[in-house]
Symmetry: C2
């Protein structure tokens, strides 16, 4: 396996290649340019065979001698330079730090290289796709959320951590979970259960659901951040663990499931290493209230934003599966949505003792 | 030390006492009532001797036979009943779960016991002050944020967790950190460093600042949640560790420091077990940009909301210390604020290798 140093060297080589290309253009008397793959909805497509959302082939030129593009051209190399510095020092930092590292005033002008982080973040993504290096490989981390426990020993930066003995706390899932940092040790886990919410995760952890049912229990605090998605994908591909997703019965919850399974528009260039095409939607499904006798007064009325979001999702080419449409149309028809916590109405531990075991036993999930 | 069961028994006794009081009133033919201490700004005062914000003695009556109060009266007992159920089952749950546990439709009406969680949350706080039991003692947890690493072994629900070997991940600080759940094992820590932001915490953890400088490194993801505040206070009082706070140089950062030190208006009834009156403000202080040569172009302009917040804070009786006013007035004078991450402009590891060690060596802090 490549060490962290090997991988840093490889990324450095890519960044230097980008710079060398520009130098060659200058020596030939050409207008220096970089070609940046387009990260737009129009340049995204669903790969039906691989079952993931992928980036298309459209690119955008970024020229140095071009009034509209010169600033972005400079910013691209500022960010690349800062990443080079991080890689050479063997350190990682946040994208907010990177913004500050690269921010300065140009000469005697009042012009700043960057005025806001909203300018540097897309440049990072541009750099990722341009040199084909992931954010993690550029030694940058995003804000993170998410905790994991379960029957596994994990080796994090050389520390062996027994996830069977994490008490009520849990191990915080880092943003960078590549094999050079995180390795899987001994495990008895038979599947991965990804839940949307921290409070639900805490309830399941208190009941030690993961011990009784031999699963890795992980949450992503809403839409899971890159670290959580990547770790789930690694457990799936490397350890052959099936992945189950438990989210709210609302458009946002179902969208989380779709992102875990197929990837997202935004990070389409990362689907290959983030998505788990066989991930299963466990609930809360639109048929659950009837099947599990969840009283209607614990439901929440769908509002305009919810309805608009469903409409938008039904328009995506990757939301055309019959079973998926039934879920979303079910919400529209009843005008009702249900949070996972609504199950508490049926008892504190109903979710751990009845709902989840029955769902899995009956293979009552969507794919 | 009291076990978890002992403490649950004690809380059950308090809840039953509340109910018994009402039964007695009924038997005497009186209008059933409960007296709830008022949690308002007017009923909060700064105890100059203890140096914490405390709740005053004002109370509000809640009567059963009173059109305006009957619903709240009922809600109080619904919540108390659900907590009793949790305590008897030896389980804990989220305040969102509790909302669903207690939500139902009244008889054949269209009236719900609770329509929204914003109705049940204040009732929980009412119950806390009325029966003098903390939320944690009622077996309820709030959403949590925050991670900790450092030279200490912690025992969480019987699991010994070595916080010296948590890799890049860290141990997630739970919401309930009372001694029955969390015990302190062997430690070499000499102080506690509470940082505002997760990204800064990750940077410090990567540089193993806590190992070189023998400190417990903890963050609260912005305004620290109850679990983090309580854990910091316990480390301070039980282990005699001084507490240092590192926040952004803006009104919100300084307010976080004030809450850690003196408590908050909202949770004034909890200050005794949350506040650390000797906590030290390490930075980013208004004099740092000059002293540490932080370039002005990494600062952010104070906006109207910032200015309004400063004005509000300067009006609080517990913000009258000269040094505190100088900090806030400094922000107003320069019209500039600085994030912790701005230090990255001076180098990736400037914060761990220069800024923090110098601050502590020079005793360059506020109290």
């Amino acid at each position: 396996m490549a060490t962290r140093k090997d991988r840093a060297k490889e990324t450095l080589r890519k960044i230097e290649g980008l710079a060398a290309g520009v130098v060659t253009q200058i020596q030939k008397g050409k207008n220096p340019r970089v070609e940046v793959p387009l990260r737009t909805l129009a340049n995204v497509r669903f790969n039906a065979k691989r079952k993931i959302i992928e980036l298309g082939g459209d690119k955008q030129e970024r020229l140095f001698f071009n009034v509209a593009q010169a600033k972005k051209f400079m910013q691209t190399f500022l960010v690349a330079g800062a990443c080079k510095e991080l890689l050479e020092a063997g350190k990682t930092t946040s994208i907010r730090d990177l913004y500050y590292m690269t921010k300065h005033t140009l000469g005697d002008t009042k012009q700043n290289t960057f005025d806001e982080q909203v300018e540097s973040d897309p440049i990072i993504e541009d750099l990722e796709v341009t040199v084909d290096a992931l954010r993690e490989e550029l030694h940058l981390f995003a804000n993170r959320k998410g905790l994991m426990v379960g029957p596994m020993t994990i080796v994090d930066s050389g520390d062996a951590i027994d996830l069977r003995r994490q008490g009520s706390g849990g191990w915080g899932v880092p943003s960078i979970v590549e094999p050079e940092v995180i390795a899987f040790g001994k495990t008895e886990a038979e599947y991965v259960l990804l839940v949307e919410k921290e409070a639900v995760w805490s309830r399941l952890n208190e009941d030690k659901y993961w011990r009784t049912h031999k699963c890795m229990l992980i949450h992503g605090g809403g839409q899971p951040p890159r670290g959580v998605r990547r770790l789930v994908q690694r457990m799936h591909t490397e350890l052959k663990l099936p992945v189950y997703v438990l989210v709210d019965n609302d458009p946002w919850g179902f969208y989380i499931y779709s992102v875990v399974k197929q990837g997202s528009i935004n990070l389409a260039y990362e689907s290959m290493r983030m998505a788990v095409p066989s991930a299963r939607f466990l609930g809360i499904s639109s048929s659950d209230p009837g099947r599990y006798k969840i009283p209607e007064n614990v439901s929440i009325k769908m509002d305009d934003t919810d309805h608009r979001r469903v409409k938008q999702m039904l328009d995506y080419p990757w939301f055309q599966k019959k079973e998926w449409r039934r879920e979303l149309e079910g919400m529209v028809r009843t005008g009702r949505k249900y949070e996972i916590e609504a199950l508490s109405r049926l008892g504190i531990s109903y979710i751990t003792e009845e709902y989840l075991p029955k769902k899995i036993r009956d293979k009552d999930w969507l794919e």
